[in-house]
Subunit: 488 residues, 3 copies
């Protein structure tokens, strides 16, 4: 496949007829490229394939010509920048100053900065690469674009990978020209405003799941705490009190009692901020007041927290299905049977225990089933095909059903154990009682908000009504999600 | 993150230079907005960020100015609508008439109706909001647009959420202008025809999974019926005939015998309409005759029915994996062992039962594995990357393989039970025999269609051949799926 | 739903006013269609709905008029092609020559070839349909377009199915005209270069998962080999040596020992080519030298191999969860208990075996959990939302973690068995020892590349440094993936 890449897809006749192309500059302008690295070459290939006439400027044209598609004209920098109106600058930031000698020829032209700083460069320089370029060439119009596209996506064409090209510049017309070029090349341009946004755009390829960092740390923190707690109760206490060696539980059983705790607490943390926000709106008597920053951030990370909850829930299911595969399970069963025979008991059956487990397992499967629907509708391609009403039904209504089912799952697991003294090892209550606190608060609060007096007031506030004297601020984006359908 | 939203991304220099922008109206026209609600504010933010010059008309400019991005000019309604050619109407339908005083100033301009009716309004009014607006301002061109975009998607930019903007209007050029504006704002405009489509477009945000309603009701109905049937056979009959208390089976075992029945019947309902359609085409001798409405609707809901079948299949798998975790399973095993010892039997082994279960389980896993491939290729982002031949191979060929594997799974589960009298409780046949009827008919029919005489005739019909005297009608969309590759 | 399809979405007023539309040809040109098949009709519907004025040319206008939307004008071929500048040719290749009589009227116009050859036609003719059409009408400009869109996607509108329209032509302006038409119809045009690309574009709808063929054959080959090996060891050897009948293991147990071998070897085959490529770059001292073809293809199929590995891993998990559901499992347990009682042993417990299984199962679940993250980020809609750094973190770092976890899973499964003589049946070593070879080589190599001397050299080479005398070639697309962030 890659073998076909360097063959020019556009016929020689077209590319050679520079004269005629120059007459229709809006459709196929002659473009210049400064630089001969990977990105410059991929850019040249893509531009040539999209019908542009490409001139590459190099300090050593002879050596570099072989690296470019044959339809691109490789020449000296001075010659390359003389005729095209648009010049791509595909060199490292540290070499920008070496281009200053071209200043006169570049005057009045559009310079497209496609560079990405390294992590170190981005931290050291407070000025973006594009703004630095603009300061070196005050007579040019600098446009930041294409830096979020990989060299590979450029060369292979936009069928694979992301199609969005973020563009910013202080000059509207230049931005429009480059937007049209991006569109012709098969990408989707997105206007990001003035050149001051360049630093933000240059930071995008340096990101590593920024919205996942806090949720993942939260989940890991919860895991460590619950694991330690369960280890003390399930392994350490039997060892210290009764000298029973249950250390074999460390790799699997203790993990499997910890996972559902984390999943359950995370799920309740998805619905807690909504409850807090509603309470705040009720107290303030208006929705036009900004929430505190921590609540705002929390509201915006609900999707990530919910997906982590689902992930831990799935791991819990997998670990649970592994339980009967353990050797310890087999030994326990055989030993129980032997004990029964030796005790001369003919039939073992505890009706209450049987019922407890059947309901417990059934609720768990249903909770996971409902959560999986939430996870699937979080996929970008599915979320995009839903309207707000549908998305809210799945994420809010079905999500609350999942929380209820998980609570039933936890309650049937606990059964009467919370009230039996022998389950308080080292005076520590069973883990499931700890995890029940948050969800019960949420379910109680949701119940309260259904009371006619509160529910009516909340509906009024969300439709725009305000208590006298409520202070107004500009509304952050997230709080208006629920308002779309009936308000304008 | 949302904290950065209200800072103007475009530099003041650009926005203030209204004069120069007015000279290039096609690129950055001055746009007006009437209204000060959430949507108006998000619209203003997005327009400002996309390089437009925004004037907001308010009845109380002083009070509302603080709510809008600083780059937007908030003034009185009369002033706001005087200079821009495009005015967004972002007020409630009930306030449309209050704008009538602006009629003279608005004459000849493009009014963009972005409103969404509430469910109640939509049912009460037979005239869409946009058509009502057009009737109030006969001298204006009304364009319906942006109502399917949420205020949140507008403000955050089109990187999140759906990008498609449905546009309709009776005037082509106005539609073109607004399409270009949507494109500049980063959305993908989609022409929906004349203003008469406005009602249809306004109904979109009110939808709640319309294509899922019938399939979900069907699945729930099947579940209730099969659950009742299984409850009678597995719980009630033992209780009434032998006074055995098996009510503990209600939450898990009976559910788990019901789930595969529903999944299996739903899967066969995916392939039945195709068989009926082929039979109908064979009898009629043409494909250019419309199918009856019920068959048409059925054919169009195959995807949803198939996904529900997969969902129930997965639940069945999860429930089955829970079986050995039950307390009742443990007790049964121990009791069996004790019984063996007491009976002085040394080795328990029924070769036939062993084979039955191994094949049964293996077929089940394979059927689920194949179904999961079908489910994955139903994801929009994957379905879009397949050509028709690939999509049809997965959905039709692999789907039929899944049906065959499920049939083998069911047959090995049943083994010889269908022919043993003691399995007919209350004279009711075992559930699996009931579910086998439909799939066997389908497999038989598919086999028949492979006979040379029928297969040849069907191929001819699908390539466009017609029996003499076959009546022609306009072809509904769905029936031509199979014809794409070789026909034009 | 399909019932609304044939009602014209655009008002009669617009479509009838041909005169005024003709004045704005760039926005709504009159277009002609030759042909009356399914595709011609869907095309007409879509064009009418997008605001074009459509004239259909038929040899029997009276008979075919009823098949087209009422807003389309159906007439004789000669009349249909007289006024529009763009004519869609929607007839079979074998009828192209019958259009030659229209040559004079078509001269100077744009002919859009929308046809798709059958598999047979594509193999027989070395000239694409579009090039054949161009040879018949030398006075026309032929554009290849819309053939990758199904008739169904055309009629239903681009909300469902793929939106990308591949376009090629030798004439830039014609390509631009058709691109704009495609955009107005709601599709995303993609320029594929000159008409010589038509054959490539015509081959796209004939493809059946070309990138999956080799990986699937590889996986099936591995499955057959490992299955045979395991069958000999687990079933045949006990039968021949001890006359034990273990044939019941054929449908499930042997499959379940084979699946993890295939999954594990496939996973290591994902990371092997990267190691080979790095070794090659180290030896050559440059990255600007093309890899051998087999390595290139291997590097490009890593995603497919990885997904197959995940699929086999999931099947392995499902089969494993089925193990305690088997009748043979129940019999074995009961027989073990009976044996214990008869041997008068009171407690069965092998601490080492217990530990082995707990670690083994835990590692397996974790490996599958990590692999599932890789699989999810392979979904197009998620992969597109990641930057290169994020994608590489998941696929490369997390993928290597999954390989390490799988290796631990395999090692704890094996425990000391590799060193016990009684596990060498027929002198054949246990299967897991065979599968460990490749992954251990990879882990070792990855460890070597971390040595300062090699790691520094590799980093230098990947940043563009070259050993003296290293020969340069044009770089294939795939090798530059890692270079985007810091290079330009």
């Amino acid at each position: 496949m890659s073998g076909d890449m360097d063959k020019p897809l556009i016929s020689r006749r077209l590319v050679d007829s520079d004269g005629s192309l120059a007459e229709v500059p809006s459709k196929a302008p002659k473009v210049g490229i400064l630089g001969s690295g990977d990105f410059a070459r991929s850019l040249a290939t893509r531009l040539v394939n999209s019908g542009f006439s490409v001139v590459v400027g190099s300090r050593n044209p002879k050596r570099t010509a072989g690296l470019f598609p044959s339809a691109a004209h490789v020449t000296f920098q001075e010659e390359a920048v003389s005729s095209p109106q648009v010049v791509f600058v595909a060199v490292f930031r540290e070499h920008y100053s070496s281009l200053c000698s071209l200043g006169d020829q570049l005057a009045g032209k559009i310079l497209v900065d496609v560079s990405n700083p390294t992590e170190k460069e981005h931290l050291q320089n407070h000025q973006s690469n594009a703004e630095y370029l603009a300061s070196l060439f005050p007579a040019c119009t600098v446009v930041k674009a294409f830096n979020v596209i990989s060299a590979w996506a450029l060369q292979a064409g936009p069928r694979d990978g992301n199609r969005q090209v973020l563009i910013c510049s202080d000059q509207l017309e230049a931005k429009h020209t480059i937007s049209e070029m991006a569109r012709t090349m098969g990408f989707t341009p997105l206007d990001m405003g003035s050149l001051a946004s360049a630093r933000e755009i240059e930071a995008i390829p340096l990101r590593l799941f920024p919205s996942w960092k806090v949720p993942i740390l939260l989940a890991l923190g919860l895991f460590v705490c619950f694991y330690a707690y369960n280890f003390i109760r399930d392994v350490l206490q039997p060892y210290m009190r009764k000298h029973e060696n249950k250390f074999y539980k460390v790799p699997l059983s203790v993990v499997n009692t910890t996972l559902p705790c984390v999943a359950y607490v995370l799920l309740s943390l998805v619905y807690l901020p909504g409850v807090l926000a509603a309470a705040l709106q009720l107290r303030r008597g208006t929705k036009y007041q900004r929430f505190p920053d921590w609540l705002d951030h929390w509201l915006q990370h609900r999707k990530q927290i919910g997906l982590l909850s689902f992930f831990f829930g799935v791991l819990h299911a997998l670990y649970s299905f592994c339980l009967p595969l353990r050797r310890s399970h087999r030994y326990d069963l055989v030993n129980l049977a032997v004990k029964q025979v030796l005790a001369n008991k003919s039939r073992l059956w505890v009706e209450e225990e049987v019922w407890r487990m059947e309901i417990y397992l059934s609720m768990g499967v249903l909770a996971l089933g409902v959560l999986s629907l939430l996870a699937v509708t979080s996929l970008p391609s599915i979320a995009n095909s839903l309207n707000w009403k549908e998305f809210s039904f799945v994420q809010s209504t079905l999500g609350f059903v999942a929380l209820m089912l998980s609570t039933l799952h936890t309650l049937t697991y606990g059964w009467t154990r919370a009230f039996e003294e022998n389950h308080y090892k080292f005076y520590l209550p069973p883990t499931f009682t700890l995890t029940l606190l948050l969800p019960c608060v949420i379910i109680l609060a949701k119940g309260l908000f259904l009371l006619p007096c509160l529910s009516r007031r909340l509906t009024k506030i969300r439709r725009g009504w305000e208590k006298d004297g409520a202070v107004k601020f500009m509304l952050p984006a997230d709080h208006m999600q629920g308002e779309k359908t009936s308000h304008v």
